[in-house]
């Protein structure tokens, strides 16, 4: 058995060990000799002053227990962790609903709609954008869907399964395994996030090309809205009007509660080939990555790390491209060989991929322990077309560096590509800077705002796969076309006339 951390990422049992922590601190000290790295323990949650619920819905679906409310009031953004560490309470939901059936979901929506109580659907709570935080809301029920956690039906012929939205990644794959099938969707949050959360936020998987966004893995959706249950047909493709599923994908709980989905599955890979390639410069590495992304080779992994990222997380000191090919059907060695040809004068290196993989899973844990040492360690991500990347990259690095200098005095900015498309990369930035204990949240907010401005000004998206939530709203509203905002508000008014569904996200509350 494992215990979820009440204040930070993942399981208490998997937290950074004392040895790992000492190693991390000494690595930071080497770069930032003057940083104050005093360790601060997380507060005792029972010592926190939790305000009483402002509304108590009737019936046994709801809990107003303090721990239930406290553990569902925030996501897992850096600013969530630092507020937890600082003992800052709230905003909190007034009650937590845990539906056991779809009818329960209907009942909760009905009750909340008719009592003007906001509803925030909650999967694994790993939002890093304030998506589940009841900010600026009067009366709120958070609907935790984790009891809807079953694979209900498997169609091995079409390779698809009907799955309840509240299932966590690990359980989902365990339930599919006896059928020899996998969803193959592995976001970094895999163990602690749910299918419904992935769907509602258009999550990106671990794989670099082709079917990696949850959008493309979705065959049909079942969504409970206040205006009725929406169920799309199981179809491999359709041209019948705008896609109903694509309206709910990314709707972040504002149009309805996803309760089930038919998901496209795959056979687990049998053939594998991979290599890591070191480049003389980041520019040459970007160019090789572009050629591979446009080659039609479609590597499962095509993760470019800039020198700083490679140094911190893959034990190398130059730009490294981690390449991997996989197939359940045929050998992939020829594909890798061709991809390596496209790398030109890049040089194959050993060990980087496995070290990267190890770091990748530890990153969120390390972020949190470093926050306890007063370090600001966080990421932001975007996507842009290849022609704009150099300019966007320069603008973002410059904005981040300036912000770090202004806010923290010093700091490091790293970059990697998490996904690559024929027409552009999805760059993912990391920042590492010494914060001021007591001001970590506001320091982060200032840095985040500066970087978000730069991203949006440079033509990127405010999020490639972290979603919008509440934190990205100022930039999302600049990014999206104004008529689309009108259309979305019109759709929401039709499905959620009382305006109770996750108010403040994507559309502004109409009441």
């Amino acid at each position: 058995m494992t215990t979820r951390s009440w204040w930070g990422w993942g399981n208490v049992e998997d937290a950074v060990t004392p040895d790992e922590r000492r190693e991390l601190v000494s690595r930071v000290r080497a770069v930032l000799p003057d940083a104050d790295l005093t360790f601060h323990s997380a507060p005792d949650p029972s010592s926190l002053d939790v305000p009483p619920p402002r509304v108590v819905p009737p019936g046994d679906l709801y809990s107003v227990d303090v721990v239930d409310r406290l553990s569902r009031g925030r996501g897992q953004a850096y600013r969530d962790v630092t507020r937890n560490l600082a003992g800052v309470v709230g905003p909190l939901p007034d009650a937590v609903a845990r539906p056991r059936t779809e009818q329960d979901v209907v009942d909760v929506l009905d009750w909340c709609s008719s009592h003007d109580v906001a509803v925030i659907p909650f999967g694994g709570g790993t939002s890093v954008v304030g998506g589940v935080e009841p900010r600026d809301l009067d009366r709120v029920v958070t609907m935790d869907l984790s009891l809807l956690d079953r694979v209900l039906e498997v169609d091995p012929v079409s390779r698809a399964a009907r799955i309840q939205a509240g299932v966590f990644g690990t359980s989902l794959e365990a339930q599919l395994k006896p059928f020899g099938l996998t969803l193959r969707h592995f976001p970094q949050s895999f163990e602690f996030s749910t299918l419904g959360g992935w769907l509602a936020t258009r999550a990106g998987g671990h794989y670099a090309t082709l079917y990696t966004h949850i959008d493309d893995l979705t065959e049909s959706l079942r969504v409970v809205t206040p205006a009725g249950v929406s169920e799309s047909r199981r179809l491999p493709g359709s041209g019948a009007g705008p896609s109903p599923d694509r309206l709910f994908l990314g709707s972040e709980g504002t149009l309805g509660v996803i309760t089930e989905a038919w998901m496209r599955l795959q056979s687990p890979p049998v053939f594998r080939a991979g290599a890591s390639v070191r480049f003389a410069s980041f520019e040459r590495a970007v160019e090789a990555t572009r050629l591979i992304a446009q080659s039609g080779l479609n590597p499962a992994n095509c993760r470019l790390l800039d020198p700083a990222e490679a140094f911190l997380n893959a034990g190398a000191a130059s730009s490294v491209l981690v390449l991997a090919f996989e197939s359940a059907d045929h050998p992939v060695d020829a594909l890798l060989a061709r991809a390596l040809e496209l790398c030109g004068d890049g040089e194959v290196v050993e060990g980087a991929a496995s070290q990267w993989r190890k770091s990748f899973l530890r990153m969120p844990y390390q972020r949190d322990v470093m926050a306890q040492h007063g370090m600001i360690t966080e990421t932001f991500e975007t996507a842009c077309t290849w022609d704009r990347f150099a300019e966007l990259h320069a603008a973002v690095v410059s904005a981040a560096t300036s912000a770090l200098r202004a806010v923290c005095g010093i700091g490091v900015v790293t970059c990697r590509f998490t996904h690559v498309y024929p027409d552009g990369p999805a760059p993912y930035y990391g920042i590492y800077a010494p914060g001021r204990w007591g001001s970590l949240t506001s320091q982060w907010d200032e840095i985040k705002a500066a970087v978000s401005e730069a991203l949006i000004d440079a033509g990127g998206t405010i999020t490639h796969h972290h979603s919008v939530g509440r934190d990205h709203m100022p930039w999302y509203t600049r990014q999206r076309p104004a008529p689309f905002a009108l259309a979305l508000a019109g759709a929401k008014a039709a499905l959620d006339p009382a305006g109770v569904l996750n108010p403040g996200v994507l559309t502004t509350r109409s009441t």
Copy 2:
């Protein structure tokens, strides 16, 4: 120079030759010795009685010329051709607008919105579903976008181009060619349809797998709506809320007029490998096709013809799978070899692919000349998951056969797969039956209704890539989730408050 046929498919110069016609007729005679195959000439369009326009908008953007109105009142469905051949006039637009600039588009929408005049956006007019027909409307302007026909900008690094929506397929590819790039979107209507039409109807290209639907080739859209111009950012991927582009893709002119798009391009293929495989039974052919669709080999062509289809259009007498692989980057012979392994005891045959290709481009012309001989020759298409295919196929063939027997006494039903997905095929049916001159339209309507019922009852989509238009509305409204209909109506009301955009399609007129 070529001349578009006023009553049927394509160019007058490319119509079926007398020799080709004699050959077709004798082939039909062999199967249907008793059919009345009397030839009927198309009427002289100047002899038709065209009612005067009910509204004449002011200014030089509009034409009320009889030929302009007559040639834009219908699409290219069988029922459009038979009505033309029978000299049945109308419904017609009252005026045709031909905007030269985006501002002209804005002006037309403004004028029509404030004068309660419906607007039907018109690309190449190849709709086979009544999408451009001003049925049951009082006063209508058809907006022909064909003057907006330029590739405006090419980004060779990201491989994308900004293209005006009114450009026809041939011109589009000709404008891209100097850049060594191609959109590689080749629907059967390619020569006579436009980018805007493809986008508005979610067209399917010629290729069988991967990037073939226009949806996936779209990087961003510019759409003029009565509520303002919507322009999405050029992004290779984004997780910022529901996709704005996916709302307009498939909106069939009901939410706005697409004026420009950034489209994803590719390098033309250099490496090619192909083969045709004959199977002992349709069932075994379907099974092999499924294995290939799920293999990750992603053939460019993977077109399965049932024995009747193969007999009529590929000179073979058993189920044939036409396979082809293409790449601009690397050899594809190993992929073909593996696909052939997956075909099991299928047998490679020569010549079928080239004959099929030739037939494919002639089909619409042949359909029309056969209509002149009183034959009913038409297609309908769908998609379903693999597990349901056998049942859907049996139901559709049975419904079509019964309908043909009831309506025509006899007839042939054929099936092919136009596209295949890991989770299901897109079956495409052809019917061939002797009609009754003078009743062809109503006979077709009866057959179409019977088949559509069967498709929808069997869990398919009413259209995989022909769109909804007016003809598919009764089944589309059964297919789509009811709450999605509400959401779409809400979005439309927000973007098109006067309800003037293509009324009767997708949403019902609110006024």
